[in-house]
């Protein structure tokens, strides 16, 4: 039970903070004197506070370890679903740029992800394309990111 408590979200969040502060403080030791002054002034107390937070979260987690229910697994499924879509948006836009990827992703999210009608999906995708291409690229003449894959293909 106690081993399981080590892997709860609050503990891992606090551990992530501790890791960030420790890593950044250690890296600061390699900077020249003036450049490392402020990072160390912040990083050292940050590491100490983060360690205290990890200990506090561990204590709370062990107390709460008994509380598990079916609702949590449903929330975890929803969480994974949303993270999948976030990463799809990220990799889609990164690979294929705003003009091509964003309308498709909007359609996908609405039609596949949220089971909206095909009309709603198509309307959303068309609206996104009109705003991105019509307003930004054509009216404002702001070139949007074309995507790493598209750039690679074009070159």
């Amino acid at each position: 039970m106690q081993t399981k408590a080590l892997f709860t979200g609050p503990v891992l969040t606090a551990v992530a903070m501790l890791a960030i502060f420790l890593t950044m403080s250690l890296m600061a030791l390699g900077f020249p004197e003036k450049a490392r002054l402020m990072p160390l002034m912040v990083g050292i107390p940050g590491s100490v506070l983060a360690l205290l937070q990890v200990l506090a979260e561990l204590r709370t987690s062990i107390d709460d370890a008994m509380e598990t229910d079916a609702q949590q697994s449903a929330a975890h499924w929803n969480e994974r679903h949303m993270f999948t879509w976030l990463l799809l948006f990220f990799f889609g836009i990164l690979g294929f740029g705003f003009i091509y990827a964003a309308p498709l992703l909007v359609f996908g999210f609405l039609y596949v992800g949220k089971k909206e009608t095909i009309k709603v999906g198509a309307f959303g995708a068309a609206g996104t394309w009109v705003v991105l291409y019509g307003l930004f690229e054509q009216a404002f003449e702001i070139p949007l990111f074309t995507g790493l894959v598209i750039e690679w293909l074009l070159n």
Partner: protein
């Protein structure tokens, strides 16, 4: 002071149908640029330059200043409705604006933002009219020592924004400070935490960081919970015109806070180098610190919307003065405006005080009138925005994701920011999920570079004795007194709660 000249300048604006027409076109344009994340006032001015090119100088300047002065009025809308700040300084409005939307009070929050922006712009302008004779000594009295302590003053607000967990709040604030050191060190030119990535040399982009820490987690949470931004609060909702009117009324009910934050905002705007982001957060911190019930903040306190919004608009007036009189822009937006003024034939600098005071008065009036016009125009459409908070989350999320990635990319035109946005978004979600307060992160990130840079400059100029300068001593006293009052208030509130529980 030439009172006749001041009022003649007012007639330059309201007495000229041409100038008024330009102002009426500029105001919605400025609000539009403010409302779209990543566009902002700077890009608005750049895009408007071809439009004003060839215009008579005063007409062109009125158009540009009117547009620039209302950018943050529009920027409050996505901050309140979706937790997506239109511009960097609008981030502080999210802290209480978004919880108000979740409580079904989007209309009231938008009304408060609208009223506060308008009143802030006008009071900021009036403050400038009053302070004009004292401008030079006040601006020159601010050196690196005072900058350092003013930024430190802002950082003390981290403790006040930490909510129930001081340790978590301090950690998040320190994390923001730590990320503020990701850059090419200004003292030694050393790359700090940049991993040879060029886009990090200027530091972490504030817009990307704010979108990552606030907007992405809100959308993930909305997708998980289902429903709309306002949840199931339709019955108690204030999303119509009455809600907006109630919000505008709140600005006048909290008149003391409105006046104070307008003046603080105008004052911070006047000091070149501090930046608009600092103004809104310092005013937000002031609202928390001066409240008798600070525990309401972060949970939908109306004062938490009023304070940053008044500051956002009043600081624009403040930063106009050093731009015009010293040729030193008070903000990055003003730097672009300065270039546009020169292009129009208005030569900023001390000479303007001798020969061009009519232009200065006219621009201050235009700034104030634009803020009033923005309130009237926006009032007509504000309830529509309130309804957006009742749109199903499933319909909203893909557009907000797109807008968030777009805002992050446009702010620096660097695709690498999309990576940073996703990483900070995931981290921000877990911070939200496990009750880590997020506002201290932004304070740390914004004030970190000011603290470091001014500290090194002050040390180089005066050594540790910089703390004994009159301005520095004044700032130290301000920090001690304000923190002392906050601690005293918190203790007396705790005692009162304890007594009440004991009596029950």
């Amino acid at each position: 002071m030439d009172i006749g000249g001041i009022f003649a300048s007012l007639m330059n604006v309201i007495g000229s149908p041409y100038h008024m027409l330009l102002l009426l076109i500029a105001v919605p344009a400025g609000m539009f640029f403010g409302a779209i994340p990543g566009l902002g006032g700077k890009l608005g001015i750049v895009l408007a330059i071809p439009f004003v090119f060839g215009m008579e100088p005063l007409a062109g300047a009125i158009f540009l200043i009117s547009m620039h002065s209302v950018v943050h009025t529009g920027g409050a809308i996505p901050s309140i409705l979706f937790g997506v700040p239109g511009t960097g300084p609008d981030a502080a409005t999210i802290v209480d604006g978004l919880p108000m939307t979740r409580k079904g009070e989007a209309g009231r929050a938008i009304g408060a933002a609208l009223g506060a922006s308008g009143v802030g712009g006008v009071i900021g302008g009036l403050f400038l009219l009053a302070i004009l004779p004292l401008l030079r000594p006040v601006v020159l009295a601010f050196g690196p020592a005072e900058f350092f302590l003013l930024a430190l003053f802002g950082i003390t607000f981290i403790a006040m924004l930490s909510g129930d967990s001081l340790n978590k709040g301090l950690l998040v604030g320190l994390f923001g400070l730590m990320l503020a050191f990701v850059n090419l060190d200004p003292q030694t030119g050393t790359q700090r935490y940049t991993f040879d990535q060029l886009f990090l040399w200027d530091g972490i982009d504030i817009i990307t960081a704010v979108l990552g820490i606030f907007a992405i987690p809100e959308m993930i949470a909305l997708g998980i919970a289902g429903g709309s931004m306002a949840g199931d609060k339709r019955q108690s909702a204030s999303y119509g015109r009455s809600g907006v009117l109630e919000g505008i009324g709140d600005v006048f009910r909290h008149w003391g806070l409105t006046i104070r934050t307008s003046i603080i905002g105008a004052f911070i705007g006047m000091i070149p180098g501090l930046g608009g982001d600092a103004a809104s957060w310092i005013c937000y911190g002031h609202a928390v610190q001066s409240s008798k019930t600070p525990e309401r903040f972060g949970k939908g306190a109306i004062e938490g919307v009023i304070a940053p919004e008044t500051a956002n608009n009043s600081k624009e007036g403040g930063s106009l003065l050093p731009t015009l009189f010293f040729g030193v822009p008070g903000s990055s937006g003003m730097a672009i405006l300065l270039g546009a003024f020169v292009m129009l034939g208005i030569q900023p600098g001390p000479g303007l005080a001798l020969t061009g005071m009519d232009i200065v008065w006219t621009l201050i009036w235009a700034l104030m009138i634009a803020n009033v016009v923005a309130v009237i125009m926006f009032f007509a459409v504000a309830p529509v925005f309130g309804y957006l908070s009742y749109v199903r989350g499933g319909l909203l999320i893909p557009f907000v994701f797109t807008l968030t990635y777009l805002g992050s990319y446009l702010s620096h035109r660097a695709w690498e920011n999309l990576v940073l946005l996703t990483v900070l978004g995931i981290l921000g979600y877990f911070m939200k999920k496990h009750d880590w307060p997020r506002p201290p992160f932004v304070i740390g990130l914004i004030l970190g570079p000011i603290v470091e840079d001014s500290f090194h400059k002050a040390m180089a100029l005066w050594g540790p004795r910089f703390l004994l300068r009159p301005g520095a001593l004044f700032m130290i006293a301000l920090i001690v007194v304000s923190f002392g009052i906050y601690v005293w208030r918190m203790r007396s509130n705790k005692n009162k709660t304890g007594q009440r529980q004991h009596a029950n």
